[in-house]
């Protein structure tokens, strides 16, 4: 279980990384290495050149205004868990970070690496989708693109990132003081990837109610119908339409898998209704 030979460059800037990506066909960005290195070791992934962006300027930035915090992709799960910077989501991000893998993985794995890796079961993928975050991608000539997190994944391990683009930041909308959130991850072991995932935020002040079902084998799915019902009657726990909406959202899934996903969503909502802040 040792990787095939590769070259390694530690870049100082995103521009340098983008240039190298463009120049070398199978070059790959290396962030925390917590997904990439196991794949290289198993020789399931190969690369002639690893471009280490951990020290690249600007990737551990924070830019905040009243409505959005732009978080550089280089922050680790552990730093988010520890509250090294202010959590714009009133505890949701810290809660999510704490449930990813175990501390040794969290110490290295980054939020950007997780999103770029695009494992459908990854926590940040669903979290950023439910938050309505925006991902910032930088390509040739410093050109930046903004992509909505809920449409970033095109499939399992497949994103809208072009082959010469680097994900540089995640713009996370601030939750207002009245906002409530719920997050429920079904897994068998502490720190395991989710088998089913439900996430919900309700922020009446901003007139936002979003529900996501995640760990679906593909992109996370928004459940707008159930969200509208919840927004209309926040005390309602009946959510009669949820099962139907899950069937429509996950037509290919086995009934047992759909029930599990519906349970995750229902429990995310229930968690929200009983706890204002986490």
């Amino acid at each position: 279980m040792k990787p095939a030979a590769f070259d390694y460059v530690r870049v100082r800037s995103v521009r340098e990384a983008v240039d190298l990506l463009a120049a070398k066909d199978d070059a790959k960005i290396l962030a925390g290495g917590q997904s990439l290195t196991p794949m290289l070791n198993l020789r399931l992934a190969r690369s002639q050149l690893l471009i280490d962006i951990k020290r690249a300027e600007g990737l551990r930035s924070l830019a905040a205004d009243d409505s959005v915090v732009a978080i550089g992709v280089g922050w680790t799960h552990a730093e988010i868990e520890d509250g090294v910077f202010e959590d714009p989501t009133r505890g949701l991000m810290r809660h999510v970070a704490r449930g990813i893998a175990y501390r040794a993985v969290r110490n290295r794995g980054t939020i950007g690496g997780s999103l770029a890796h695009a494992d459908p079961a990854a926590d940040w993928v669903s979290t950023m989708a439910v938050l309505g975050a925006t991902l910032v991608c930088e390509g040739a000539g410093g050109k930046r693109r903004h992509v909505a997190a809920d449409s970033f994944l095109q499939g399992a391990f497949l994103t809208q990132l072009a082959s010469d683009e680097v994900l540089v930041a995640v713009e996370v909308p601030r939750l207002s003081a009245q906002a409530r959130w719920g997050y429920y991850k079904i897994c068998r072991k502490a720190g395991e990837f989710a088998h089913a995932l439900g996430a919900v935020i309700h922020d009446p002040a901003r007139n936002i109610c979003r529900i996501v079902v995640g760990a679906t084998d593909g992109p996370p799915k928004l459940l707008p119908g159930t969200a509208a019902a919840l927004a209309a009657d926040p005390m309602s726990e009946a959510l009669d339409g949820l099962d139907q909406e899950i069937i429509a959202a996950l037509p290919e899934h086995e009934p047992a898998a759909r029930r599990l996903h519906a349970t995750a969503v229902r429990r995310a909502i229930a968690a929200m209704s009983t706890r204002m802040d986490h």
Binding site: M1, P3, A4, R43, R188, K189, A190, H195, R259, T263
Partner: protein, 790 residues
């Protein structure tokens, strides 16, 4: 019985482990820590298909000395495990695949380079063409008419078929209660923290092949390796350095081990192979996969009248050396009646060859499966007669008053009180209060309590192994004990410590009989050049066998110490006693160094008739019976089952165990915790699934779930201490027991919890998928009943 007689650190003392300091400081020396000039790494190209004829194989030109196929290993013989059991079929297990491959992961070529990464690069330069054959992936398909044959010369896919019948018909005819169950346990791999590892080199001075290997059985590996390489045994030295767990896997002679040793023998330079986790998951010894069909008969009270069982074990492609592919099924058939009084029993066992890695005995050998099946039978009978499972269990257990007791399969239970252990477990888990309380918790989860009882046959010896027809039969274990000139004690045994603390417990035994303080006792294990013969560490035999041998040898040395001391103190030898680390006669005393000095350096002080054996002795030991000593326990567990997710949480876990005289209760507890943790793995997590073509679906620890600290309960342990009448010090073995009962206790608890839903899980692990499927199936069942009523 607790507390130690000698210096407070002999037998019975909760002494801290001597081996812990180096491990806690990260200074253990495992095979992977060895450094040697010129060491080259080995990687294996493994079969990507489960069953195929090899059409061709080719390697780049100029790769001689770097890439090896079967025919390149001149003089290396296949691993052949013979058995004298009638009907047993022998498989040739080639070190590298010959004309066929029989499982995904089977070594096909060996590559050598300056680093493991480069050696793995070489595996990618090899071209092998396969002509695939149908893969046999289950016992049923292996036994089906017209099945593809793994070993065509056999005519079928059965390594062995056995049967036992005490005469069942009268019991069947009279029984008012009949239960019929299909039960299975999943395939597992063993996952010692340290995988297998081998470093082999040629010692020019000794003219010896020296193999450092992570093994439980160095003396056996010497014999097996010498046979495969056609060498005299004197030309082979096996050294087992620190071993990070074994669990049975490291009892085997591995093809990789033979191949790497062949390299060192052929090239006279050092070579290394370190198994990685993926190799362990894909190709490492498999275990646990049993399938049961059981009919049990009982009276209205739930008293067992008879049992009729069919057991199939999916033993993979080859017979492992030395235990064969058949030990598991033979043990399963023989041990199924467990701790119960059973008077009519019929069993048929099948050891079926499949296109999976060879099956090996894993901690508990067959008993976790047997216990899982038998304990579900007891619960099913209890359910059928409408009584509490613990009550029916208690009435069927062999009572203490019947000891010693010979059971229906001729197992001789030496001592103990099985029902008493069960009753304490029932009290400790608080069953009565639980029954009076709610069936669901605040989160809506279903709550249940389950029990399981078992016996653990430990240190079974000559008679048992001879009956299995194995290529070796354990007899006397030997130990060497020596007082050094400065009054310290050297203890040597050919057994090995693989985490079970023998460096400490053997020292405690030596301390007990010689009075030498524990800190002055040095235990050396695991090197064929420096230790007397033992077949090794398996079958919960270490402390019984090696402990007995150290006791014997220690007593011989102790009597010689006394003789010299008596002469020096001018008293009779029987006036001499050991106390507080010194040698006393009345108020006069000597140090051990005084005696040591006299023998080695001041012979003029010795008595005329001094024993010329000096202050060292090698003695052999085996218990008074060969059929094993029976430790036993009852486990009780409370679980919460989430009926929407299928997740099971263990809320409380109680173990009441009896392993005879405890040499070190803390180590007994450690063994029990570790075993029970593995049992939880079997019960809830671990599974090596395969697809229909024989591709393993769990090849990393992302897919193969091991329980971690968060998933494990705080096991609460209580001891009983009934001495064995047949062993030195009354010791019985304890290494495996913890792993036996958890699957059974947990499944019974889950089924108790799910009783309101009429759901029953019969297969391990009780994964969320299986739990949810059982709940869904019960919905269908209840619905159908409702429909029929309407």
């Amino acid at each position: 019985m607790s507390g130690s007689s000698v210096n407070g650190e002999g037998i019975g003392a909760r002494a801290l482990r001597k081996e812990d300091a180096r491990h806690l400081h990260g200074r253990g020396q495992f095979v992977g820590d060895l450094a040697m000039a010129g060491l080259q790494d080995v990687a294996f190209l493994r079969s990507p298909v489960a069953h195929a004829v090899i059409l061709s194989r080719s390697k780049p030109s100029r790769s001689d000395g770097a890439i090896f196929f079967h025919d390149d290993l001149t003089g290396a013989l296949p691993i052949v495990t013979r058995s004298s059991i009638p009907g047993y079929k022998v498989s040739d297990y080639p070190v590298l695949a010959r004309e066929r491959v029989r499982f995904v992961g089977e070594p096909v070529a060996m590559c050598v380079a300056a680093s493991r990464a480069l050696a793995e690069d070489l595996t990618e330069t090899i071209d092998v063409q396969y002509d695939e054959l149908p893969a046999i992936m289950s016992c049923d398909s292996g036994r089906a008419a017209g099945a593809a044959l793994l070993h065509p010369q056999w005519g079928d896919n059965l390594f062995l078929e056995t049967s036992f019948d005490s005469g069942l018909d009268p019991a069947v005819a009279d029984a008012p209660i009949k239960v019929e169950l299909d039960i299975s346990t999943a395939r597992q791999t063993m996952h010692p923290l340290e995988g297998k590892g081998v470093v082999a080199h040629w010692d020019h001075r000794a003219a010896q092949l020296v193999v450092h290997t992570s093994t439980q059985v160095p003396h056996l590996i010497r014999a097996g390796l010498a046979e495969c390489l056609g060498l005299p045994q004197a030309m082979v030295r096996i050294i087992a350095p620190d071993v990070g767990g074994g669990f049975g896997y490291k009892c085997l002679l591995q093809p990789e081990e033979v191949a790497v040793a062949w390299l060192a023998l052929s090239y006279k330079t050092p070579f290394r192979w370190i198994e990685d986790r993926r190799e362990h998951l894909v190709a490492g010894a498999n275990a646990r996969q049993h399938q049961y069909h059981i009919k049990a008969y009982a009276d209205q009270q739930g008293r067992l009248l008879g049992m009729d069982a069919e057991v199939s074990v999916d033993v993979g492609a080859y017979s492992v050396w030395p235990f064969t592919a058949c030990l598991e099924a033979a043990q399963a058939g023989g041990n199924l009646p467990g701790p119960y009084h059973l008077t009519a029993y019929r069993v048929q066992t099948y050891s079926v060859a499949t296109n999976k890695p060879p099956f090996a005995p894993y901690r508990g050998v067959a008993r976790p499966g047997v216990c899982f099946a038998m304990e579900q039978v007891i619960d099913a009978i209890a359910k059928a007669v409408g009584r509490e499972a613990w009550e029916v269990r208690a009435e069927n257990l062999v009572p203490g008053s019947a000891m010693p007791y010979t059971n229906i399969t001729n197992k001789h239970y030496d001592s103990g009180d099985y029902p008493a252990a069960l009753l304490s477990a029932k009290e400790m888990i608080g069953l009565d209060a639980f029954r009076a309380g709610a069936r669901r918790d605040a989160r809506g989860r279903y709550l249940g309590i389950g029990f399981a009882s078992y016996t653990e046959q430990s240190a079974h010896g000559t008679k048992v192994f001879a009956a299995w027809g194995l290529p070796f039969v354990p007899g006397y274990d030997q130990a060497f004990v020596k007082l050094t000139p400065d009054g310290a004690l050297e203890v040597r045994s050919g057994i090995h410590t693989i985490g079970q603390g023998l460096e400490t417990t053997l020292a405690q035994v030596a301390c007990e009989v010689t009075g030498v303080p524990l800190r002055d006792i040095r235990v050396t294990l695991g090197d064929t050049a420096t230790t007397p013969f033992s077949t090794g560490a398996y079958a919960s035999r270490g402390i019984v066998m090696a402990g007995g041998a150290v006791g014997r040898a220690g007593e011989v040395v102790a009597s010689r110490i006394k003789a010299i001391a008596a002469h020096l103190l001018q008293v009779a030898p029987d006036a001499v006693t050991f106390r507080d680390g010194r040698i006393y006669a009345g108020n006069a005393s000597l140090s051990y160094a005084d005696v040591g000095r006299a023998w080695y350096f001041r012979p003029e002080q010795l008595p005329e008739d001094v024993d010329r054996g000096g202050l060292e002795a090698t003695e052999g030991y085996k218990p008074d019976v060969d059929g094993g000593l029976f430790s036993y326990a009852s486990h009780a567990v409370q679980v919460a089952v989430d009926a929407e997710t299928g997740l099971v949480e263990i809320l409380d876990y109680v173990i009441v165990e009896d392993c005879g005289r405890m040499v070190n209760p803390m180590i007994v507890e450690g063994q029990t915790y570790g075993g029970a943790a593995q049992g939880v793995g079997t019960a809830l997590f671990e599974e090596s699934p395969y697809d229909a073509n024989g591709q393993p679906l769990a090849s990393t620890l992302i897919d193969y779930l091991l329980p971690g600290p968060v998933e494990l309960p705080k096991f609460r342990i209580a001891h009983r201490e009934t001495l064995s009448p047949y062993t030195k010090f009354g010791i019985k073995g304890v290494g495996e027991g913890g792993a036996i009962a958890p699957p059974a206790a947990i499944i019974n608890a889950i089924n108790d919890a799910l009783a309101p839903l009429h759901a029953q899980v019969r297969d391990a692990p009780a994964s969320p998928k299986r739990v949810l499927a059982a709940i869904e199936a019960a919905k269908g069942h209840v619905g159908a009943l409702a429909g029929a009523d309407a």
